[in-house]
Symmetry: C3
Subunit: 146 residues, 3 copies
């Protein structure tokens, strides 16, 4: 569903902390979507490449993500969970890696069209379909009957 | 509001030029939104990672930004300033860092849902609300009554 | 039209392979849009910055692109080619660089407003206009009568 780009200060996280951070994000989706849908990319940004309000930052974590397996806002809302609920859940999940370490942070999501998304060349199964439940269970993209 | 990702050639800008570039972008928003809403990330892209029209580029600045504190296009337009007006203003602001230095360039914005955006874990105040004016004035995210 | 960000493993592609990959993407658009509209940026992501389903990956190619010169989904659809058709074409084009080399992969597009897009400071000509055909032919942004 989602792709996260996490822009963070140089040396902010060790390798195992990044793995734990990614896991905390994935876990927040529970079993609603396959775990392998959730991508998390970390990008180390030096202080003088990282500006918030035109101030160079070395203690800021800026997260930009896309949602496409489920939408939470607008006409094609099919999430089963509202925007506010989701934002509360994800903020709770990431707090140990950001707020609790004294970083400042900001997070926003884009919503992109499900129709323009492919996994291993396959058009992913419809939300809440039997085929999607199989993908959740097997945690990989396998061919299916539509 | 916005998050800017600026992809530029290796060595295109000194550290202080990047700071000035970020400031020029932030200044363009005036006092409509809090200054700290405006994020600018610089990414140095080597020539052979940077293709426009399948041609490797070492003189191109490619900007991709998101708007979410205000929308300028579509149903949820609440900007108070039109798309054309904005694009003219921002082009003027960035010209000294791009056009006037002989770089080629391209710029586009996405619009992402305000509902899927948090700053320091807070749901930002509504556009043009009293609470938003306080954030503009104090230039930081503080708890507020809805 | 599009901007592609390709996140790939360290050393996945040589410089000339990246050039060929970019060309395969551009060629897929044919002569519908100017070739110079198509941007492709490659980003090498080390294994422990690259998580899919919370698993660190060194054999995964994750592509995130935006479409804005043409839309394929929703109200402002003006593509002349459907989402499914497009996804099939682009998957075919990128397969030699991903699937056929044994990489896993995922691809999604955002759609961003045409109104918030400028090339060399110019508002690009309307889809399928005479001026756009001139840009296709000359393969560069030149001033035009609206």
């Amino acid at each position: 569903m989602p792709l996260y780009n996490i822009y963070h200060p140089v040396g902010a996280y060790t390798s195992s902390e990044r793995a734990a951070f990614a896991k905390a994000i994935v876990d927040t989706y529970g079993t609603v979507i396959p775990r392998f849908y959730v991508g998390v990319l970390f990008h180390e940004i030096p202080k003088d490449d990282f500006y918030m309000g035109a101030v160079a930052k070395e203690n800021f974590v800026r997260i930009r993500a896309d949602h496409f397996a489920r939408h939470q806002v607008g006409d094609n809302k099919d999430s089963g969970f509202g925007a506010d609920q989701w934002m509360e859940k994800i903020e709770k999940a990431i707090a140990p890696f950001i707020r609790d370490r004294g970083f400042d942070w900001e997070l926003h999501y884009g919503q992109t069209p499900r129709e323009l998304w492919r996994v291993q060349g396959l058009k992913p199964p419809k939300a809440n379909s039997e085929a999607e439940r199989v993908w959740v269970k097997e945690n990989r993209a396998t061919p299916f009957e539509d």
